[in-house]
């Protein structure tokens, strides 16, 4: 069995950073990254981007050396992705914030509202309902992060945690401030009760739907693998929306927040819903495009996020 020689150059400066000899032909990029890490301890594997071309795409950890278009002396280019943080850590941090922050406003912790309102509770039952829904939503997200999701990437750039937390925590505080305000105005007396009831039904329906999709996506992927398959409807009726939409998890998420907006009749919640919708649409379109690129037989009836529309 002939061994390979591997040299790793800096993608920008083309300096020779590392030379590995006697590399097995069936070595994976992941293994090469570990070897590179030994000679450069500051660059742990998660922050290494190894590519065949300085400006090309990153190679995957699973790629095998002998299946790559390289000679017996392989030249790779290295780019530092910067400090990395695990997806799980980011999700847990960005979701715990809103949970805690909202409760601080709900219990009217001092220094938020006028002192005479400290530790009082709202007289409107919809405010209590909203707190339960908001808290349930973020607890669900935390539990899904710990037990349901299977991430294809282990890490993301560290700066994302600051960006993401600002978004989630900031909006949570903004919404919570108004909903739990002493001067909060609930949906009007006349049809207000029906409005809140309908909104609650939509919210719960979409929470169950969103959860069903997460479970269906999890089951597509065996534990520890990073395979990608086309998702299809299962026996669960909440997954039948896969017939019309590529990313129904986002569709249901939009539905949940629309429900919450109508329930609380609060403009900041409407803003949050709109901004989230825009971001999810961008993600859904990207995912839809990758599905189309990867699978020839991808169902043509599907739209990225809204059936027939978007």
């Amino acid at each position: 069995m002939k061994h390979y020689e591997v040299e790793i150059l800096d993608a920008k400066t083309k300096d020779k950073l590392c030379f590995l000899d006697k590399v097995e032909p069936n070595a994976t990029i992941g293994e090469i990254k570990s070897m590179f890490h030994k000679s450069h301890p500051q660059w742990y594997p998660a922050r290494q981007s190894i590519r065949l071309d300085p400006k090309g795409k990153s190679l995957k950890d699973e790629d095998v050396l002998q299946h790559l278009p390289v000679g017996t002396t392989a030249t790779f280019y290295f780019r530092d992705l910067g400090a990395q943080i695990s997806w799980v850590t980011v999700f847990l941090t960005e979701y715990t914030g809103p949970l805690v922050i909202y409760l601080m406003f709900y219990f009217r912790v001092p220094f938020i509202y006028a002192p005479k309102y400290d530790f009082t509770t709202s007289k409107h039952w919809v405010v209590h309902l909203a707190c339960m829904c908001h808290s349930f939503h973020y607890m669900k997200r935390l539990l899904e992060t710990l037990f349901v999701h299977r991430f294809s990437h282990g890490t993301m750039p560290l700066r994302n945690i600051f960006k993401n937390c600002t978004y989630y925590w900031g909006f949570a505080a903004w919404m919570a401030y108004y909903i739990n305000h002493p001067l909060y105005t609930p949906p009007s007396e006349f049809y207000g009760e029906q409005q809140i009831r309908l909104a609650l039904i939509i919210f719960l329906f979409c929470q169950i739907g969103n959860f069903s999709i997460h479970i269906a996506l999890r089951n597509l992927r065996p534990p520890g693998s990073k395979t990608r398959k086309i998702p299809y409807p299962t026996k669960n009726p909440f997954t039948w929306i896969f017939l019309l939409v590529s990313c129904p998890n986002y569709t249901y998420e939009l539905g949940s927040w629309l429900g919450f907006t109508v329930m609380t009749q609060c403009l900041p919640v409407a803003f949050f819903t709109m901004v989230g919708f825009i971001q999810m649409t961008v993600w859904a379109k990207g995912k839809h495009r990758s599905y189309l690129k990867e699978f020839r037989d991808y169902p043509p009836l599907r739209s990225p996020i809204l059936p027939f529309v978007l």
Binding site: Y178, I179, Y184, T185, T264, Q265, C266, L267, P268
Partner: protein, 228 residues
């Protein structure tokens, strides 16, 4: 803020040797030339208006009114350069127009003068660039006058916003209070203070960007003269 950012076309950025880039098509060039000529003319009108009014009155007092209409027209017309002009339009309409009491402030004159001179130079620069006949004087002026004009404009803008604050607070202009049906509130007074604070990170960024651009653009000229 007196930013000199977005040109109206890639060629009009003109900061790097335009010869290497493919220019815009003939129709686009015609449009851009006309647009830039009109804008240059517009700001000249404002400049002339200011000078004439000063000569007629003998004082700076009330000069805003002599150029109020063309200022609103030409600044708003520049909406076509969305990126740069947001703050200018904000100053013009949401501060100076909306708060009558600041219209007689000297600070208004300060930023109008700064914008006027900047824009005349800038639009002449773009016009000449598009016609591939850029006099060195214009290029030099564009990348040198900003040293004074930026701080001057920013000072005028900040002082104007600051002057508007007490009136905004007293009248509750553009503000929404609780309780209301949509459970939303907005305090324009606090918003203006936030705008003023935002100048702290944003102004140095723009200023140093222009300084860097200056080194790049005018630096080359010095190299050529050394080679001679």
């Amino acid at each position: 803020m007196s930013a000199a950012a977005a040109g109206t076309s890639k060629a009009a950025h003109g900061d790097v040797a335009p010869k290497k880039r493919r220019g815009p098509g003939a129709l686009a060039t015609a449009y851009l030339v006309i647009y830039n000529v009109v804008m240059t003319a517009g700001w000249l009108v404002i400049a002339v208006g200011l000078v004439r009014a000063y000569l007629a009155r003998g004082s700076y007092h009330g000069l805003y009114y002599s150029i109020e209409k063309p200022l609103k027209f030409f600044q708003t017309g520049a909406m076509l350069e969305v990126r740069e002009v947001m703050s200018r339009v904000f100053l013009t309409w949401a501060v100076t127009h909306s708060v009558r009491e600041v219209q007689s402030e000297d600070s208004v004159l300060l930023f109008v003068t700064a914008w006027t001179v900047t824009e005349i130079i800038r639009y002449s620069f773009y016009t000449f660039s598009l016609l591939n006949h850029l006099p060195f004087l214009i290029k030099w002026a564009r990348y040198t006058f900003f040293f004074v004009l930026y701080p001057m404009g920013v000072t005028g803008e900040l002082l104007t916003i600051y002057a508007a604050l007490p009136y905004v607070q007293k009248t509750g202009l553009y503000s929404v209070t609780l309780p209301n049906k949509y459970n939303f509130s907005f305090d324009y007074h606090s918003f203006l203070i936030l705008v003023m604070i935002s100048y702290i990170p944003l102004f140095p960024q723009l200023y140093f960007h222009m300084i860097r651009q200056r080194k790049k653009v005018l630096g080359h000229i010095e190299d050529y003269s050394k080679v001679e």
